[in-house]
Subunit: 200 residues, 2 copies
């Protein structure tokens, strides 16, 4: 199963190949690959190089640890994510380590790191399905996450599965075409809402 | 000028090569390349596929437009970003278009899109230097950005320059080694703050 984008302008294959499956193959992810995924996140850019991202990771093989992490997802996500070989929580530090002041960019920079992780995953034939649907307070309780950190996302990581083997609902999601707004609707020039001459 | 990461685990070259220069070459960016950069952003993942990102872009050749955009940056960033061939503002929609409810993931998902744009740039020999140091209300006024959108970042885009040609302060920034926390400090397992067995 793969789901290529249909770009209007050429983009790198690792970007057009990236997608977020609901159905994962019953195949573990090698620790060496996981190391490289988090290493990719490590080298992302961040405001003042604060590196506000933190990850909590569990593999399906680790029964208790995986169940604990799965329990931090909203139920709708638990339904499909329980089949993913690896789950991670994406957490950010709300404040700068050097001065304790609020880091406005923290959630944004977690996104930069998660995108790097996903790019590395795609290069390795893996898929990442990110979720905002988690229970941050459940995560705080389960892992004693300090007050100045916030559990924000979850990431399901693994090899794409065969939607035909999946429940009807998931099958439809994974076989639906990918759709995006045209550039003209989000790349503006001298005036808000008016497409940039530079990019169309 | 290039600045490779020194990863502890192998990562894709487009991730290890990525860096954020302060000094750009005096060389324009072709519109076709810009189109592909924003196309890369377009295909990023987002919560409910909302695609909350918006960009406002100006090239240095467009004097009035470039000055208007440069004026939305804090002065410390204007000092070096005025030399970049292309500047963009990263904006997000605070609410979902379909129901007007707050989109908690908006800033995070702008980060996903900006990272995709940056991978595409790296693949094309371009560099992107992102900034959180902008004046959102100045941007709102300059472009009449609606209340339910927020200007959040700026991106300087171009070919890396020669730090030796730059003022002392910038020269030092671009020649300093890149540093990151080790994986064990941000990838946790069953307990917060304890390195995951899966990734070390």
């Amino acid at each position: 199963m793969s789901k290529h984008a249909t770009p209007d302008h050429p983009i790198h294959e690792l970007l057009s190949k990236r997608w977020s499956p609901y159905v994962f193959a019953d195949r573990p992810v090698a620790p060496a690959d996981l190391n490289s995924l988090f290493e990719a996140a490590r080298w992302a850019a961040s405001s003042y190089n604060e590196q506000p991202w933190r990850f909590i990771v569990a593999a399906r093989g680790q029964d208790a640890a995986f169940k604990k992490l799965l329990g931090c997802l909203v139920e709708a996500n638990q339904a499909w994510a329980r089949q993913a070989p690896v789950l991670a929580l994406g957490v950010f530090a709300r404040t700068f380590q050097r001065n304790g002041k609020p880091n406005k960019a923290a959630a944004h920079d977690l996104g930069l790191a998660a995108a790097s992780l996903t790019f590395e995953a795609t290069a390795r034939g893996l898929c990442v399905h990110q979720m905002i649907g988690i229970d941050p307070e459940q995560a705080r309780a389960a892992y004693s996450i300090p007050e100045d950190h916030e559990a924000f996302t979850a990431l399901a990581i693994g090899y794409p599965g065969d939607p035909a083997q999946a429940p009807e609902a998931l099958r439809g999601r994974d076989t639906a075409p990918r759709a995006r707004k045209p550039l003209a609707e989000f790349v503006f020039g001298e005036s808000w809402g008016v497409a940039a001459d530079l990019a169309r």
